[in-house]
């Protein structure tokens, strides 16, 4: 394979990995503070991408065509709306079930995901059809041999990196992050330090859901379309990535996300079967990893949870 083509695959893998990592971080944050799996997370991502799309169409109808403003508004609307949705999910669905078995939370969030998915399908105008997603970023490309370096990909990758570094700083350098880590390690002692436990949970769900919205916008920009069903696969991939990385560990989730994208890329490129089987290959490897390391690659015992 020549270097140009190889670079192209690496670039595509990095784009996918960034999206998966952002979704996986959400799963791992929720598990960290509350020991729950929020299975509506993928569908929150999907609603985020539709919120972005609707914001764009609204601005377009108002005649706002300045690109920098458009992309900022789309991102802001999607992340803020999903942060709010995440906090509402935590407040009204997850926290009330705190003393119930974890399976109940899993079931109720699974059902909420279906509600969100079917809600968009039925109530978004022609929501059952795939929607073209606007190219909000400059699509200029610089051909380097067989590799087309696209400006929009580069921008998205940089923005994703900034977001991940931002999450890292938030968790490790701020008082809020300290509270989140304390709650993740020992909920009761955290409460006796004077930490408002419910508030920390709400904020954590807001942060995780905003990250999902960001990934949803990235997904739309990358594929130039979005549809009501994208959350299903992205949710399962994000969850798998979080598990491979060792659920509860942020850095593990990020590594898991990029690892999953790498597996998909290898499955699509290097193996002798059609690229449609890339997910089968990637999930197959995930199953093998889980059989080999049941608690994930970075097990929780040795890793710093959240």
């Amino acid at each position: 394979m020549d270097l140009g083509l190889f670079s192209q695959y690496v670039m595509n893998g990095l784009m996918l990995g960034m999206m998966y990592a952002l979704v996986a971080v959400g799963f791992t944050l929720f598990f960290g503070v509350l020991d729950v799996i929020n299975f509506s997370h993928g569908d929150v991502l999907m609603v985020g991408s539709f919120t972005g799309l609707a914001t764009y169409l609204g601005l377009d109808a108002l005649g706002v065509v300045w690109p920098a403003f458009q992309v900022t508004a789309v991102l802001a609307a999607a992340t803020l709306a999903m942060a709010l949705l995440g906090a509402v999910i935590a407040r009204y669905l997850v926290l009330p079930l705190k003393s119930a078995p974890a399976l109940n939370t899993l079931l109720i969030t699974l059902m909420l995901g279906t509600v969100l998915r079917e809600g968009i399908r039925m109530f978004y105008p022609e929501g059952a059809n795939p929607k073209p997603f606007p190219a909000l970023l400059p699509t200029d490309a610089y051909p380097l041999g067989n590799f087309n370096l696209r400006i929009d990909n580069l921008l998205m990758l940089s923005a994703g990196l900034v977001v991940i570094v931002g999450v890292h700083l938030l968790i490790n350098r701020t008082k809020l992050g300290l509270a989140i880590r304390a709650v993740a390690q020992d909920e009761e002692t955290a409460k006796t330090m004077g930490i408002n436990f419910n508030l920390v949970v709400l904020v954590t769900f807001a942060i995780g859901s905003a990250l999902a919205a960001f990934a949803g916008i990235m997904n739309g920009l990358y594929y130039n379309e979005t549809n009501f069903g994208i959350g299903l696969l992205l949710g399962v991939i994000g969850f798998s990535s979080a598990i491979i990385g060792g659920l509860g560990n942020i850095y593990g989730a990020i590594i898991g996300g990029f690892l999953f994208a790498a597996l998909q890329t290898v499955g699509a490129v290097a193996l002798p079967f059609a690229s449609a089987y890339k997910d089968v290959f990637a999930f197959g490897v995930v199953i093998l990893i889980m059989a080999w390391r049941p608690t994930g690659l970075i097990s929780e015992k040795v890793s710093e949870r959240v």
Partner: protein, 240 residues
């Protein structure tokens, strides 16, 4: 007298059911302002349940808990802490995967002023110089005695008016136990009200101003250390 009782922690006819085994029945006691009040009792007598009830972790089913005139019953834990209470919990409960300094900072979580926080940190390092050298070490990798320092330092970071201390001597060597009791006495000399829950009768009675004995979820004896030292109920609660 009654004004003095108003000032401090008042537990009134508290009933708490917790995991069905460990319960409190009709517990009433007072921890007077500025004094060391102890609660003695053997394992499973309900001592920790009472601490949990005061902190709102296991809210009482009935009865009242009042601190300096503010009713705590029914408040969430962080608002109970906000009234000026700190806790040094049983088993020290340091956050194992946070550094010593992060643990200490969490003790003063509700403190808004960075300057006050820095002063308190300095004070904690002054009290426990070993902790300053190990400020960046993960608390979970320290010895039991060092974790006890972190836990006590963390409780003091709050600059509380009332400090709840749950079994400080548990699992520590006799020398460290003695050090801990000296520290508790010094804490009290800074005019911090101390409510001390212990199994260790002799050392506790040496520093306490007033004490209660809890057995099977009920208060069975109360009085000054001298009275309790002679009391048969005390012996029965432990050995009978």
């Amino acid at each position: 007298m009654s004004a003095e009782i108003e000032n401090g922690l008042v537990v009134e006819k508290v009933h708490t059911a917790y995991d069905k085994a460990d319960v409190l029945e009709d517990v009433s006691l007072t921890a007077q302002s500025g004094k060391i009040t102890c609660l003695l009792g053997s394992n499973g007598s309900g001592k920790t349940t009472l601490i949990r009830s005061i902190l709102g972790l296991t809210p009482p089913n009935s009865g009242r808990i009042v601190f300096d005139g503010t009713e705590l019953t029914g408040l969430p834990s962080h608002r109970i802490i906000a009234t000026g209470i700190a806790c040094i919990p049983e088993g020290r409960k340091v956050f194992p995967r946070l550094t010593v300094e992060e643990n200490l900072r969490l003790g003063a979580y509700q403190e808004k002023s960075p300057k006050v926080l820095a002063d308190r940190l300095e004070q904690a390092y002054h009290t426990f110089p070993q902790l300053r050298e190990r400020r960046a070490q993960l608390a979970g990798t320290m010895s039991g005695g060092e974790q006890a320092m972190v836990s006590i330092g963390r409780g003091l970071m709050r600059a509380p008016r009332l400090l709840l201390i749950d079994e400080p001597s548990l699992g520590l060597s006799p020398i460290l136990v003695k050090q801990n009791f000296d520290i508790i006495r010094r804490i009290n000399e800074q005019n911090i009200t101390v409510f001390l829950v212990e199994q260790n009768v002799h050392q506790t009675l040496e520093i306490a101003h007033h004490g209660y004995v809890l057995s099977k979820g009920r208060i069975v004896a109360a009085g000054t250390p001298e009275e309790l030292g002679r009391d048969r109920e005390v012996h029965r609660a432990y050995f009978g």
